[in-house]
Amino acid sequence: MSGRWLVGKATAALLTFAFVIVFNFFLFRVMGDPTTQLARLPRATPQEIQKLKADYGLDRPLLGQFADYVGDTLRLDLGVSQTTRRTVWAEIKDALPWTLLLVGTGTLLATVLGSWMGVVAATRRGKRADDGLLGFSLFTYAAPEYWIGIILIILFAVEIPIFPAGQQVTPGAEFSSFIDNALDVANHLVLPATAMTLMLLGQYFLIMRSSMVDVLTEDFVTVKRATGLSWDRVVRRHAVPNALLPLVTLSAIQFGAVVGGAITIETVFSWPGLGLLSFDAINDKDYPVLQGTFLVFSAGVILANFAADCLYFYLDPRVQSK
């Protein structure tokens, strides 16, 4: 067993992240003229602007600014929000758990449901169940996730009011126990998590289906049946574990989409995560927050990619001995 493959992946992840930092710096300090960030003080005198620039370190040479920026970023000093005057990191720290909850639930449900649907479709290829699932997942793939979210609100929060239309807890509610609190959050989670699941389902389904179709043509499937294993057991014990491997690698590509979905879905459901935070930052032109959320989103996706690589390493013995 050699871990060199994993070390290579880790190095690549670190390099990608380093590039994110460089990119982020140039994007906001160079391309986006920093003085526009100060434009919310329209009546500021040149002296005041000068002082602000000095405060932000904008009067120093670029390289020095960059060094400062890298140091600050690594110390999680991401600046101060221009609307709330709290530190960006404090804002992010509050929002992150909510996003993880939403994204985690959605991804988990979509993986389980999508791969189950993929197995069903692949073992019934060309039959009605296969066509139906294929049509359904193509539709959910093509439909904008925030639109699905809005429709869920109309259906299950307005027309048949069984779930709350937004936010993470009932405003003003006081909970006698942690369990009550958790149940209330779960109740609020249903619709946004459904939207998230529907958005991701199609891709997972298509990947699992084609992967299963591939595996089922392999010789070892025939051999396993020849040993007397029932078809169901061959599928469950041998075909599915093999078909899951491509799902793991290919699902890494999905993480970018997950983040995009977090932004729009959180906006629709006023879910107080990173997505809503960056949506508010867009509208308020709150650049430090926008920059911070972009950084965290990128780091999250890179980390998730690396986690997928680790999982793959663990699952596929062929990689381990490479």
């Binding site: 010789d219 051999v223 020849a226 040993t227 007397g228 294993l229 014990r237 062929r318």
Partner: protein, 335 residues
């Protein structure tokens, strides 16, 4: 009493015959070779014997298995899928062509052998299973430690031996080996064939060996059946079929074999190709390619005994000598 009796086995794919009325018997401990060009229905026959064909292929015909330890003969054709689960591997096992993909790549090989043993034996103890596996590995000439490996960590030859160990796991009375040596180099081929032969002698296994390589079959088998376009055209002992072939197709197959040390004549390939299952020629299926084809060949020939224990499906059999062919009939026939 024979171990396996196949009578009128047919396999259809959307109405087109892939295997078209195959009959043969196999004695306990006997080795039967099944030869023919690719696409003649050899592998389909093998899979049909275990009812492993994909659902698009429909099979019919009687398959009777009489394993020594069973009191009643097993009528395979009447078994349901669940019932086949008890027959497969317990009585008949399979060594597939291309050992590359015959084992699950993400499971250790001993886990896979243990799975087969556990499936067919009532609650074996873990220790017994472990001992059985290391014994099996020793039988096929592998060190027991190799069982802890994944398939990709084994060489091609090791993998094929592992496959044979797996095939022996439930002590079947019949092993079907479909091109077991095709993916191996010559040295490995010889070793694996030698192994199969030894096992047959030691364990009293019956063997159906499928190969397009007549040389391999001649070395390993007692009897040989030649298939053409979904039918057996000649069957008999290896000596008599190789010594005095009774079907023009067999004759041509043997002629196209290179003879080591023999006079190196021009290897004569058989003109034309095997017919498409959708458009089988009328009468004898080899007729369009046969240099001896005549009017009579438009009638369907039946497989009949032409010498003791030697049957041929040629109207003109028994052939005592093979005249020089007048003109190849292939020119006028289609294909």
């Amino acid at each position: 009493m024979s171990l396996l009796e196949v009578s009128d086995l047919r396999v259809h794919h959307r109405g087109e015959p892939i295997v078209d009325g195959v009959d043969f018997e196999l004695g306990a401990g006997e080795a039967l070779g099944l030869a023919g060009e690719s696409g003649c229905g050899k592998t389909t026959t093998a899979l049909a014997l275990m009812k492993l064909l994909p659902p698009t292929l429909k099979q019919s015909g009687r398959l009777t298995l009489r394993p020594p330890e069973a009191e009643e003969p097993i009528n395979i054709e009447k078994r349901t899928e669940a019932g086949m689960g008890l027959v497969r591997w317990r009585h008949i096992s399979l060594v597939f062509q291309g050992a590359m993909n015959s084992l699950d790549p993400v499971q250790r090989v001993d886990t896979q052998i243990a799975e087969a043993i556990r499936l067919h034996e009532a609650r074996p103890k873990a220790k017994e299973v472990r001992e059985r596996i290391s014994e099996l590995l020793k039988t096929v000439g592998l060190t027991p430690g190799l069982g802890r490996r994944y398939p990709h960590q084994l060489s091609g030859g090791q993998r094929q031996r592992m496959m044979i160990a797996l095939a022996l796991a439930c002590r079947p009375s019949l092993v079907i080996a479909d091109e077991p040596t095709t993916a191996l180099d010559v040295v490995m081929q010889a070793q694996v064939l030698q192994l199969l032969e030894n096992l047959r002698e030691q364990l009293g296994l019956a063997l159906i060996l499928i190969s397009h390589d007549l040389g391999v079959l001649a070395e390993t088998c007692d009897r040989i059946a030649i298939m053409y376009a979904g039918r057996i055209v000649e069957i008999g002992s290896v000596d008599s079929v190789f010594g005095a072939p009774q079907h023009p197709y067999t004759k041509r197959l043997l002629e196209s074999l290179p003879v080591i040390g023999g006079e190196r004549g021009l290897a004569t390939p058989i003109p034309g190709g095997p017919p498409d299952p959708g458009e089988m020629p009328e009468g004898c299926r080899f007729r369009p390619r046969c240099p001896y084809a005549a009017e009579r060949c438009l009638e369907d020939p039946r497989l009949r005994e032409v010498a003791p224990g030697h049957a041929s499906a040629c109207h003109f059999a028994p052939w005592s000598e093979w005249p020089a062919p007048a003109a190849p009939a292939a020119a006028e026939g289609k294909g």
